[in-house]
Structures are given as C-alpha cells and as structure tokens.
C-alpha cells in the first residue's frame, strides 16, 4: 500500500469535542452548531495502492482540495495519521508523516510526492526558466552534477512534447496550457511515487484539456506512479481514474470503481451529482 490515510480531520476555529459528531454528510453541515468551527475534513479514511489512480469529486467547499493539501502537508491536520510508502523509523514502527520533522517533510515533498496546482503560479517559480524549474526538483532530490541536471531537464521538456529550444525561456513567455505542461514536467522530474493533482485542467481550453489529460495518462503508464486527482469535472474523472471517492461536507459518502460510481451511484448525493452532469 502506498498511501494510508486514517481518521484525518481538519478543523478551522476553536473546535469542541462534538465538532466531528455534529457535522458531515449525515448532519448535512460542515459548521459545528456548538462552537461554530468549520470542519473542513471529518474523519477521512482513504488508501491508495501503487500505480492506482484515484479521483476525488464533490461540490465546491466539500474539502477535496483541503484533503490534497493535508496529504502534501501544505497545511497541517488537526488529528489523524497518514502512512506513506512504508516509511518507518529505525525500530521498524511505521511513521506518521503528519508528525515528521521539517527536514524529512521537505525531503518527502522534494522527492517522493509532487503536487500540480490549478494555477501554474503556485507550482512554478516565475523567476526561474522552464529548465530551471525542472532543475530545482532534480537538485532538490539530491543531484549535484550539472550535466545530469541539464540532461534531466531536457528529457522532461521532451516528454511534455515541448521543443527543447525553449528550455531556457521563462514561464511568463509560455501560454497557460504550456505552463501547465511545464508544471507537470517539474512535478515528475524527481520520479515521485505519488502525484497529487488539484483541478489540473480547469480553466483551460477544451482541446488543450484533452491533450494534457492524455499526456498525464501516458506519463503515468510509462513511469508508473500513483495519482490522486481532485476535480469537479466528472469527464476528467471518467477519463483518468480507476477509483473514485465522493466527498460532501468534509466526509466520504461513496467509494468505489469509477465505472460503478458513474453507472450505478448508490448515495443520494452521488446520484444527484451524476444525473446533473452526465
């Protein structure tokens, strides 16, 4: 198992001991009536296997992106544990990555996990060239030989089907779709085990969307890594994922094979979601 998320919660606000019980999909609210805290993520359990592609769908505000950011540790969780890729301490006890010291977190984020954001400005450093952005991750994963770094950058520029002559251009000089490709190249250049994608194609032209989704899928099959994709677009989920989870008010309401969920949704909310979009 690559990723094991156990009972993870994220509460914004003072929080009381009844927050988790009084919110969620059954209570049909995300705000605790006792203390007015916002329960963004409520006791989520989730696993991902090697090479598995997992989709997260749900309405806006349901906690999809928050969950992704918790796994990537852009924000810290209120409670729960996450185990990743068999990471353990010297005595063989599995390590909760939410409790790792900062140096290990940055190593995890620089090498083992990558995040692709909806907005390329979050994932790319606009002060560095396209090649420099890719190089940053290769360097972050420990490489200190110039020729290897350069070769790696060129290789990933090639993999995202971009002309290698543009390697030293700056992100500003690329189109939105190209920036997203560079972000993908950067994220994959450290050969991560897990790729997290937060609405990777939202806001792009439909034809560009399709090309980028194909590219992601090809690279996934070629390189072999797991993915978790957050999207409100069921088309994207259908195209890419093996397994889909549906979120509402910070809780998981349905979990299953993507085909099954789209063809035969069980939870009333999923039924509503599928019928309203497809």
């Amino acid at each position: 198992m690559l990723l094991d998320v156990c009972n993870v919660s994220k509460i914004y606000g003072p929080s009381c001991n009844r927050c988790l019980d009084l919110t969620g999909s059954e209570a049909n609210r995300a705000i605790c009536p006792v203390c007015n805290s916002i329960v963004a993520i409520n006791s989520i359990n989730l696993t991902a296997e090697h090479n598995e592609i997992l989709g997260i769908v749900g309405e806006s505000g349901s906690g999809k992106s928050t969950l992704l950011q918790l796994i990537y540790q852009d924000i810290s969780a209120s409670s729960g544990t996450i185990f990743f890729n068999g990471l353990q301490n010297d005595r063989g006890t599995p390590l909760n990555i939410l409790d790792l010291p900062p140096s290990m977190v940055s190593r995890l984020k620089n090498k083992e996990m990558s995040m692709i954001y909806q907005n390329p400005r979050l994932g790319l450093n606009f002060l560095f060239s396209a090649g420099g952005n890719i190089a940053e991750r290769i360097i972050g994963s420990g490489e200190r030989r110039y020729e290897e770094i350069r070769k790696g950058s060129l290789d990933y520029i090639d993999r995202i089907e971009m002309d290698s002559s543009r390697i030293d251009d700056y992100p500003e000089e690329f189109s939105g779709g190209q920036q997203q490709r560079i972000q993908i190249a950067k994220a994959l250049s450290s050969s991560p085990k897990l790729l997290l994608l937060d609405e990777p194609t939202t806001g792009l032209d439909v034809s560009v969307q399709a090309k980028i989704l194909d590219l992601i899928k090809e690279l996934q099959q070629e390189m072999g890594f797991s993915m978790i994709i957050v999207s409100h677009d069921l088309g994207v989920i259908n195209h890419l994922t093996d397994i889909t989870v549906v979120m509402k008010h910070g809780t998981l309401v349905e979990y299953g094979l993507t085909d099954q969920i789209l063809e035969d949704p069980q939870h009333p909310y999923t039924q509503l979601l599928v019928s309203s979009i497809l």
């Binding site: 900062p102 140096s103 940055s106 060239s129 940053e136 200190r144 350069r150 390697i167 030293d168």
Partner: protein, 278 residues
Amino acid sequence: MNSSTFAFLDEDAKKEIRRSLLKAVAIPGYIVPFASREMPVARGWGTGGLQITLSIIVESDTLKVIDQGCDGSVNAVNIRDFITSVTGVESSNETSAATLIQTRHRIPEEKLKDNQILVYQVPYPEVLTTVEPDTAKQKQMHGDGDYSKLWVLLYEDTSQYGDSRISNRYPVLVNKHYVMDPSPIPKYDIPVMNNNSALQLFGAGREKRIYAIPPYTDVRPLKFDDREFKVENFSGIACERCGATDVFFDEVRRGNKSSFFCSDTAFCDAQLEKNNAA
C-alpha cells in the same frame, strides 16, 4: 577624541555584541541578530565591522584597517583613526604585525595566523534574499539545509553563460551545513577562507546581523560536482609597481591601455622594499 568608556561603545552594548559573536562562532555560518547601535558614521559605511572591532579590541591589539585591500583609502583611514582615537591601540599597515584586521571586500594576500582576527564589513548578510524574499521561509530553508534555489541560479548561469556570473559575494557552504554570504570579496579570495588559521567575523550594521567562521573551518564555494570553481584569471600579469604575480590585481585603465597593480597595497609595499633591498 575623549570617550567616557574604552572603545566608544558602552559596556552593555559590547557585552551584547560579544554574546552574539559567541553564538555565531558556536554555529559556523549561522546568522545571529544583534542590536546594532548608532555609530558616528552612517549605517552602510562599515558600522557592522566597526561595532565588532570595538567590542573585541583590547589594549594590546595592533589594528589594521583595509578597504578593497588598501590601507590608505578614505574609509579605511577614517575608521582606523576613529578606532585608535577611542582606544589608544597601535595600528599598522603590515598584515603580519596586526592582531585585529577590519576589512571591506578583500582578504590580505599574506597568509593569516591563528593569533589574528579578520573582521569583515558586510552589506547583505542573507545569501537567500536573491531567491527568497520571505524571511520566515529563509530561516526554514537554512534549517532544512535546502539551498536548491541557489543551485538553480548556478544551473541557469551555467546553461546560459557556461559558468556562474557571480564575480563577488559568491555563496559558500560553511562546515557542511549553512550556506552564507562571504561579503563582497572577489571569487579569488573564496579558497582562502577554507581552513584559514584566523578567526573570521562578519558584521552587517545596517541589517543588524553577525556571523562567523571559526579558525580551521571547512568553507567551500557552491559548485557542481562535474564543474570546476574558477577564480579570476590573472595569468601573464605582473604588478607594474612591484612586479608581483599570483595576487589579486586592480585594473587601471588609461586610454586604451590597462595597467595592473596589487590590490593589497601593504603587500605591494613589502614587495617593493624587498626588491630595493636586493
């Protein structure tokens, strides 16, 4: 000038600066904040170095002050006059005679000994400012030893210009942990910092920061494993005044013709004397 206390600063100020110095020496390359008092010269004119010198100077010291290697430049003369007037210590131009050397932009050519202290005047103490303006993130990066952004600058220069474009203030890795700004000394002086017998102290008065390299500390320029660290090339050049070779030169242009002179004037004088004696 009559001063109520020895060395201008009051004893509390000296004590505070000495405490910062002790911490800086204990953690080589780590930047320590200090209060930075008002001095009778404007901030940015060597007040950091001046305060360190005044805090550690004792009656038995012999002082040398240089600016760009020169004992006779206006700034060096004024700082030396000020320090001798408030302490009564002897001063000398001779590097080997001095126990305390305050410098701006150069390390003396003559090899330093372990009874000597070299105090640098520093304009920009934080090496990460160029790549990360957020001070909180800078601290985090130093703590994690995450200098990949500096490496990316090196990568970009190497890919676009063949080598680093940094001529002075070349980042150095101190004691295999902290990367620090060596102050605007030329690349030529960087190898001299490594394993130096003298204690090296750095003071930035305007930025209120102190850092240090203890004697015999490992100091390495950031460079790729498969690239050489190249210093200024003066092959075939000799000083027009004393005939010295293998030193750092100042270039003086007259019309279309360049003349070269030792940047270290005390060294040049000594060479000249040796030549005349022979």
